[in-house]
Symmetry: C2
Subunit: 154 residues, 2 copies
């Protein structure tokens, strides 16, 4: 039997982006998978940028492509941190219980990250490696700020 | 000990998109997670479009947003179907062994899907629900064509 979760009513709890309130996930595991997927792709793209920034001749096109994709991804995860998705998932969610309680603080952290990633995309288009490195660092800090408090290590 | 997979040398095997050959994954599981993530987000967006198309008053903006995101996602998975990633993953990959052998056929199926999803994005912008429904059906066929032969059901 298919377990259906109506997240419509719950979506007001942690609306961290411009995502539509009628966004739907068929079951809690789908919401967890969705946010994990967006986070993973974003992290992968950040890794690609990092690799280029460490290279002797950074490939600016790779950096630009990954920064653009990271910005798209940055907007996705937060509509999926909804009540009923505190545990579960394959692999299990690393979200700490506090994430679902400190909604204002998490909202601010998420928006800060989204702002920094958007800036990275702008700076990447400029092609100045030193400026990209600096902004990449700021993005990293904005990720860490949330992960430190709201994501379990393992 | 961290197991590192150099996919650089292997990337020529199944290069199904314009993805850079220097795309990197730290380990096979990361490649599997990457393609699963992109597929899942794409499927979720297709579900959102489908829900709107079934609604009495489809929300065109939701359809347009999801179609745009689906197009971005459609370009991601295929660089990650590389040798060494035939098994493994959490959850385990559903890719059939044949996917890694029938490279030309899979490449054609992937490109067909990407073309149909790109068309959906164009048609969605036009706002004609009947046209969107028709193209949505064509996208579904292009997904099914590959899944039937190359994805395990469970």
């Amino acid at each position: 039997m298919k377990k259906t979760l109506c997240l419509l009513a719950a979506a007001g709890g942690l609306s961290l982006s411009a995502a539509p309130a009628y966004a739907q996930f068929n079951k809690p595991e789908d919401a967890i998978h969705y946010r994990q997927s967006a986070m993973f792709i974003m992290g992968n793209q950040m890794g690609r940028i990092n690799a280029q920034l460490k290279a002797s001749s950074p490939n600016i096109q790779v950096i630009q492509s990954s920064a653009a994709l990271a910005e798209v991804m940055s907007k996705l995860p937060f509509e999926a941190f909804v009540p009923g998705t505190e545990t579960g998932g394959t692999p299990p969610t690393k979200a700490k219980p506090e994430l679902f309680k400190d909604t204002d603080k998490v909202k601010n952290l998420a928006e800060k990250m989204q702002t920094e990633v958007a800036k990275l995309n702008v700076v990447a288009k400029g092609g100045d490696v030193a400026a990209i490195k600096a902004q990449f660092g700021d993005v990293g800090k904005s990720c860490k700020a949330c992960h430190d408090d709201y994501r379990n290590k393992e």
